[in-house]
């Protein structure tokens, strides 16, 4: 397994910012005023105990909470300085720029090829069949899946193993050339070997896309991220360089969590 040094790149370009974001489900407040910056060259990990709001917050970044009827978002979230909750923002455009990978691999019940081609087709990114073939190959290569599936592109995507399915989903997200990729516990349904492959993939994708990963596994956060945000009870308790969070936390609650006092 690879362990490259977790060096923090100088924050070149801030991709997304959140300022005092509050999320309500009906009367219940799930997120209590979170402010955070996500930059292009570092992987950001959200950690925290179950129900701390880390996934909820992640889903505000591409407005997936819109699909929950009772959810309401306050505060400001910007992508390249543009408010993503502004009426002028088109959700379809936003989600093409901010892709998402889910907890459980969810390939569509179509062929591997069709799974990757899905996004380019709905966004009209390919001029023709040849163009689409190129996009599919490039996306599968980036997702580290090409060599395993190149001879069976027209087999069903659901017939792949769990780890392959998850890489297919990452490839599907990459295919529309997003700027940000949100990963919601992408390895929680996978075995250790498949997990290692996904983590390796995250390293390779770093720098090309801004990556935000939610994980309940602290070792994973330490392995893949350069910045870590610790959430607890809907609050952002501490946000900083990953190595600092794990070796020298400033907050008592962070320290208790990473030393296994609760969670």
């Amino acid at each position: 397994m690879m362990h490259e040094p977790q060096t923090l790149a100088p924050a070149t370009e801030t991709k997304m910012t959140a300022r005092d974001v509050k999320v309500f489900y009906g009367d219940k407040q799930a997120i209590k005023g979170v402010s955070i910056d996500v930059d292009m060259d570092n992987v950001t990990a959200f950690i925290g105990p179950s129900g701390c709001g880390k996934s909820t917050f992640l889903r505000t970044l591409n407005r997936m909470n819109d699909t929950v009827a009772s959810a309401r978002v306050e505060g400001a979230i910007t992508l390249d300085g543009e408010d993503i909750y502004a009426p002028s923002m088109d959700v379809v455009q936003l989600r093409a720029r901010v892709g998402m990978v889910f907890q459980k691999p969810n390939p569509f019940p179509k062929s591997i090829y069709e799974n990757i081609a899905y996004g380019p087709r709905i966004h009209g990114l390919a001029a023709g069949k040849a163009d689409l073939d190129v996009i599919v190959e490039k996306s599968l290569r980036r997702a580290g899946l090409w060599d395993e599936v190149k001879d069976r592109l027209h087999d069903s995507g659901t017939a792949l193993s769990g780890g392959q399915q998850q890489r297919l989903c990452i490839g599907r997200a990459i295919a529309v050339e997003p700027e940000v990729i949100l990963m919601d516990e992408p390895c929680s349904a996978l075995d250790p070997i498949a997990t290692a492959k996904i983590e390796e993939l995250i390293h390779e994708l770093r720098g090309r896309y801004a990556i935000v990963i939610v994980t309940h596994n602290m070792q994973q956060a330490a392995r893949v991220s350069q910045r870590t945000a610790f959430f607890h009870l809907g609050e952002l308790v501490e946000y900083g360089v990953t190595s600092d969070i794990f070796t020298n936390p400033r907050q008592e609650r962070t320290k208790d969590y990473i030393t296994g006092r609760y969670g």
Binding site: T67, A96, P109, V176
Partner: protein, 464 residues
């Protein structure tokens, strides 16, 4: 002794058996408990009561059921050996007519004799009936006593009465469920039997592939060769049930299912879904006169006004449209189930790619739900082609082989009704044709149901 009296007597015996066996078990068990061994007592006293009561009732009831079938023959035998029966005519038909009349008078179903010969036999009949009635009752009571006494002697503290009673409960439940299956088998056998008789008169090839249907001409003696070609009926059935009705029901049912599962707010869904399901509960005869009295004339007027030839006041289109409306709830509820069964993660995955709701529905939900939808449609087709009332009232009787939806066509079910209503002899090809049609219909709907259930089941497994 009359029937009700015997039943009351048996019920009384059963009650006595229950009470006394329970009391005996209670008494014996109280004594046995003092021994201190846990296994000295097995069943609750109530189970002993039931055990003895059932032994009292069931053998006697079985005997009475057999006796009710055997005794009429014995009674007739006795009557025939009476001197008054010597004067009966030798001809079997008039003989049994007289005997039947005498029996009716004797049992009180008929007031006076039409044939004087019957009057003479009334008295022998009456005495034979009461004689065998008494014999039957006595035998039943003896059986009840014997059964009860046998069971009563087995009441001991450690006797496993509960196990026996539970076994009987299971057996009776099994019989209840077998009854439906046996009935279905019986129907199939009778259909097969009559169909075989029909096919001995009419060549199956002529029946299945002939294009001319006029059973009336066969009844008038013009021969069977060209009278029973059922293709126009098959076509009419498919035209109405599988084509016109489905053209209405599939899109509307599917769209309403999509609206209800994907777009409707919970409050809207809460009242809209039950209303849609009420459609399925409207009696088909109501749909039938709606089709015949409202839709069909309007369609004919429309067809005439735009100059379509062959427009009839009974039309395939009228029956098909109304049948389609009737089928909507079936398609909609099956489609609803299969769309709802597509995991939420599929929907999220598609929406997160930037797909709109309608793109998600078209490209992900419908393809994923397709097998379930197809299963639902096949079930709907099988329901539609077996439907009778609407087509009887609105489709007409003319066996036309036509593509014109405004003209009158007829269906398999309509013709079955036609062939079996009115005065018919049950050995003519015309009447037996109804059974052959029924058999074809049965086989087709059975196959459709099997395929549909397979498809639906296979699909269910895909996400579990």
């Amino acid at each position: 002794m009359t029937g009700p009296a015997i039943f009351l007597l048996l019920a009384g015996l059963g009650a006595i058996a229950w009470v006394s066996a329970r009391a005996r078990a209670l008494r014996l068990q109280t004594v046995a408990r003092t021994s201190g061994r846990r296994d000295a007592v097995h069943s609750l006293p109530g189970y002993h009561g039931w055990y003895v009561a059932l032994w009292t009732l069931i053998p006697a009831a079985i005997f009475l059921a057999i006796w009710a079938n055997v005794s009429p023959g014995l009674i007739t035998q006795t009557v025939l050996s009476d001197p008054a029966a010597q004067s009966l005519p030798a001809d079997a038909f008039s003989r049994s007519a007289i005997l039947g009349e005498a029996r009716n008078i004797a049992s009180g179903a008929q007031a006076a004799a039409f044939n004087p010969a019957a009057q003479a036999l009334v008295e022998p009949y009456r005495s034979a009936i009461s004689e065998y009635g008494v014999i039957g009752a006595v035998l039943a009571l003896v059986l009840a006593f014997a059964g009860g006494a046998y069971a009563f002697t087995r009441v001991r503290p450690d006797f496993r009465a509960r196990t026996r009673v539970e076994r009987l409960v299971m057996a009776s439940l099994l019989i209840a469920s077998l009854l439906a299956i046996v009935t279905t088998l019986g129907i199939v056998v009778s259909l097969l039997w009559e169909s075989i008789r029909f096919f001995s008169m009419v060549n199956p090839v002529d029946f299945l592939f002939g294009t001319k249907w006029s059973p009336q001409s066969a009844a008038l003696g013009y021969g069977n060769k060209d009278a029973f070609g059922a293709v126009p009926l098959f076509w009419g059935t498919i035209f109405i049930g599988a084509i016109i009705a489905m053209v209405v029901a599939i899109p509307l049912g599917l769209m309403s299912a999509i609206y209800l599962t994907q777009y409707a707010r919970p409050q809207v869904r809460k009242w809209m879904k039950p209303i849609l399901e009420v459609l399925a509960g409207v009696p088909t005869v109501v749909y039938g006169y709606f089709a015949a009295l409202t839709i069909a004339p309007a369609l004919r007027d429309f067809a005439v006004s735009v100059g379509i030839h062959g427009a009839s006041s009974e039309s395939a289109l009228a029956a098909g449209l109304v049948m389609g409306v009737m089928i909507i709830p079936f398609v909609s509820s099956m489609a609803d189930d299969s769309i709802a069964a597509v995991p939420q993660s599929m929907r999220d995955g598609s929406l997160a790619m930037g797909a709109t709701t309608s793109e998600t529905i078209r490209k992900v939900l419908i393809p994923a739900a397709l097998p379930g939808v197809v299963g639902g449609v096949l079930l709907a087709v099988s329901r539609a082609i077996g439907e009778t009332m609407i087509v009887v009232m609105a489709a007409g009787l003319a066996a036309n082989l036509t593509l014109n939806p405004f003209s009158s066509v007829t269906t398999v079910t309509t013709q079955i009704v036609q062939l079996l209503t009115g005065d018919q002899e049950f050995d003519s090809a015309k009447t037996l044709a109804a059974f052959a049609l029924g058999l074809v219909l049965f086989i087709v709907t059975l196959l459709l149901n099997i395929v549909a259930l397979r498809v639906v089941k296979k699909y269910r497994e895909a996400y579990e």
